[in-house]
Amino acid sequence: MKLKKKEKIFEYIFTLFIIITLNFALPRMMPGDPFLHNTGGEGEVFTTHTVEQIQYYREYYGLDKPLYIQYGTYLKELAKGDLGYSYYYKTDVLSIIYKRFPWTILLVFSALGFSIIFGTILGSISAWYRNSWQDQILYILLIIISEIPAFLIGIFLLVVLAAALNFFPLAGSISHFRDYSSNFEKIIDIAQHAFLPVMTLTLARIGGIYLLVRNSLSTVLNKDYVRTAKAKGLKEVRIKYIYALGNALLPLLTRVSLQLGAMIGGAILAESVFAYPGLGLLMRNAVSVRDYPLIQGIFLILALMVMIANLTADLLYKKIDPRV
């Protein structure tokens, strides 16, 4: 058992090392150069640097040195907890990420929570009333929703609910230059801004979770131990929630932890559509201007997030399922 634990820790460290290496290599493998255009984002006017200026910047940021030396410096700085200095924003990478990170967390975890809650509820209804009309309708509806790409759902929601009907703000995460009379008012404002991106992400994820719960619960409902519980004359609630759902949700845990990466991918799209100032939007900008340190930093933080989620799932699983 102890050996297993050690192995597991080594596994995580090894994975992290691979991720760091990839983080370093990937941006540098992209075509383009960080200093071709130093100002302006997409659609803005570019000011182009001269060859000398580019040369100067390359030397200044150490990009003229051989790759292995750059890699060594990167590792050394990382060990000190220094994620580097953004070429584009001209500030510390960590502090940029620090400002954006909470917004992404808000989106991802709210969407995750809602998709699990609603997916489980709908999936359970479908499983309990399998092959009835309720099940059929839910099944068709959710299959259709999960087949539509997330960004399309996002654009649709934006056009209808925000632009046309004006129910929700069009962009951003919070109203600027606004005085709040109470914290509650602030929370409402944040929720209003987050509503559409979260809904987009939830709708994109809910189909998978619904199907998983529906199948898993249908299987569990036919298991011998559910029959045992029925014979014992236990209350319906106990059979449904402790026996059936308790066993049926085990695969969901695995699924969710494995999908967290994809969820973050989805968040990047949603943030672009709703101009939501999270890590996703930041990453898109960083990639388009080839801001190596910022790209590396964002990737690293996201990778760490996924790893932590996997670890939590591992530990949780052990706690819930005695067989593991």
Binding site: Y225, R227, T228, A229, G233, L234, N247, D321, R323
Partner: protein, 570 residues
């Protein structure tokens, strides 16, 4: 409390399963009655509806499946009371020990918690009381208290069975249903579990319904047996009656397949499979070797045939094919009468193998000849299917009596070809058209595992080996589709290996075609291996008669003992 009032009464219970919009009958109008303190056994092959019956009683048949009829527990119809009232009775009064399987217990809940779950939820005992109860229950089934914190996957199969039993008795029920309590257990564990069940019953005084395909557990713990086939009860009676004297052909087949009941006999399963689809007639008819037209058209009802004995068979159970009554035969040798057969009576049932054992000169072959009508007896009568045997009429009949003799060399004419020999009885008795005869010859050859090529059909018999000749002799008998085959020392002139093959061939044919066999031999151990009953002869008289185990283990006469001892010294 009236001791004689039935604790459970089932009236024409019917269960239909819906599988992909098709309906299958799981149970077809079963009626049962269980008296308080009595134990009922239910046996049958897998798929016969035993478990469905248990689940019906426990109210586990949900829609879309259909259930109808009445299940009366102490006079209360469980099918018509509300769910709430039913829940009060289930597990509190009637509990089920589920068939042991990996997932019969909730994998994510500790064993102890599952033991007292019901007590906590319905009876409202506290957590502390529950823990005490868990320890008590585990001790009752001989498990240490530490197992209460274990999870189901950590238990062995035997331990899981004990937990299942403990769970069933947790509410002190008055009726416990055991579903295959000993399946897939080794003999030692099986014995322990049976002992445990007996002890618990003594202490807790519950009545039992035991469902199993294992006859040995039935012998140990139940009072009466219901034999189930394809959803119906086809025979019921006391344990000893059912095991020692099965009346339904299916029950006999089941007992013949049981190594515990017949430890020395070759095992022969019942050929064919249970037909799962509902059929009009008797559901066993397609596998039955004595079925008639009526069997396929009408469903037989359970009919009383004795005290506590019922059977569902149009033919009244296994029919008595041959009834030999007090036959006697004297031979005259130089003015002196030699008493070859003296006052011999016995009978042979359909599909049964009876051995006629005795030393040479004890009158075995003479009896065979009288029975088949070749030799008239001086006194006594022989009845074949309730009709008196007159001379060789039964031998000329299809579905009559055929005899295969000891010496294949003199029994088959060397002048004739194989085809002519086998076809001869059909031609002499003018049975069938020419084509049909040829077909039947080939079928008989195939049955005895000989080639059916023209080359072989045209061979003369003197070119065949002893084993082949004896097979041809058997084929000649089979071509008449006999109901009784008399095998008179058919293997004594064959070498050991050929002998073994011959016997297996005969038993295999019997198992499929269902003819009865009178097997004449001097080898009492061989008889035990292949026969249900043995008749021992000495000097023309029957000195011992009974089931093959009985005869060898508790031989009555000196003559039998001598034969048994002599057989051992071989």
């Amino acid at each position: 409390m009236d001791l004689y009032k039935p604790i459970l009464k089932i009236k024409s219970l019917k269960v239909d399963y819906k599988i992909n919009s098709d309906w299958f009958t799981g149970i077809d109008r079963i009626s049962l009655c269980q008296k308080r303190g009595k134990n009922i056994g239910i046996i049958g092959e897998s798929g016969s509806g035993k478990t469905t019956l248990a689940h019906s009683i426990m109210g586990l048949i949900d829609s879309p499946h259909k259930i109808s009829g009445e299940i009366l527990y102490e006079g209360v119809n469980l099918m018509s009371i509300s769910n709430k009232d039913k829940k009060k009775i289930l597990w509190n009064d009637i509990a089920l020990v589920f068939q042991n399987s990996l997932e019969v217990l909730n994998p994510i809940m500790s064993v102890g918690k599952q033991l007292t779950e019901r007590l906590v939820e319905i009876n409202g005992i506290t957590k502390k009381e529950a823990e005490k109860e868990q320890i008590r229950l585990l001790r009752m089934v001989d498990l240490e208290e530490k197992w209460k914190d274990a999870f189901p996957h950590q238990l062995s199969g035997g331990m899981r069975q004990r937990v299942l039993i403990a769970m069933a008795i947790s509410c002190k029920p008055k009726l416990v249903i055991f579903d295959e309590p000993t399946s897939s257990m080794d003999a030692i564990l099986k014995k322990k579990i049976i002992k445990l069940i007996k002890r618990l019953q003594q202490n807790l005084k519950f009545s039992m319904i035991v469902i199993s395909h294992d006859l040995s557990i039935m012998k140990e713990i139940v009072d009466s047996i219901n034999v189930m086939y394809a959803g119906s009860v086809i025979e019921s009676g006391s344990v000893n009656d059912i095991i020692n004297n099965p009346k339904h052909p299916y029950t006999r087949g089941l007992i013949n397949s049981s190594v515990e009941i017949l430890p020395y006999k070759d095992l022969w399963g019942i050929p064919g499979e249970v037909t799962s689809t509902y059929c009009q007639g008797c559901s066993f008819a397609p596998r039955c070797t004595q079925s008639q037209e009526k069997c396929f058209k009408e469903k037989p009802e359970l009919k009383k045939i004795g005290i506590n004995r019922e059977i569902a068979c149009h033919r009244g159970g296994i029919i008595k094919l041959l009834d030999v009554k007090n036959i006697q035969k004297n031979f005259k040798v130089r003015n002196k009468f030699i008493n070859a057969v003296n006052d011999v009576s016995f009978c042979i049932n359909h599909g049964e193998t009876v051995a006629l054992v005795g030393q040479s000169g004890s009158g075995k072959s003479t009896i065979a000849k009288i029975v088949s009508g070749y030799l008239p007896g001086d006194k006594g009568k022989v009845y074949f299917e309730q009709k008196k045997v007159i001379y060789d009429k039964v031998a000329k009949l299809e579905e009559g009596i055929q005899i295969v003799l000891q010496d294949p060399f003199s029994a088959l004419s060397h002048r004739l070809r194989v085809e002519e020999i086998i076809k001869e009885p059909l031609e002499i008795n003018k049975i069938g058209s020419k084509e049909e005869r040829n077909k039947r010859v080939k079928k008989a050859l195939r049955d005895v595992q000989l080639p059916q090529s023209n080359e072989f059909l045209n061979r003369f018999c003197n070119t065949l080996s002893g084993g082949q000749r004896q097979r041809v002799a058997v084929a000649r008998a089979l071509v008449m589709k006999p109901k009784i085959l008399i095998a008179d020392e058919v293997t004594s002139m064959l070498d050991l290996s050929t002998q073994a093959n011959m016997i297996r061939l005969l038993k295999g044919l019997q198992n499929r075609q269902g003819f009865a066999m009178l097997y004449i031999t001097h080898d009492i151990y061989l008889s035990r291996k292949i026969c249900e009953r043995i008749i021992v002869l000495e000097n023309g008289e029957i000195v011992d008669m009974g089931s093959s185990n009985q005869i060898i283990e508790e031989a009555y006469s000196q003559s039998t003992k001598r034969l048994v001892e002599a057989g051992l010294n071989k």
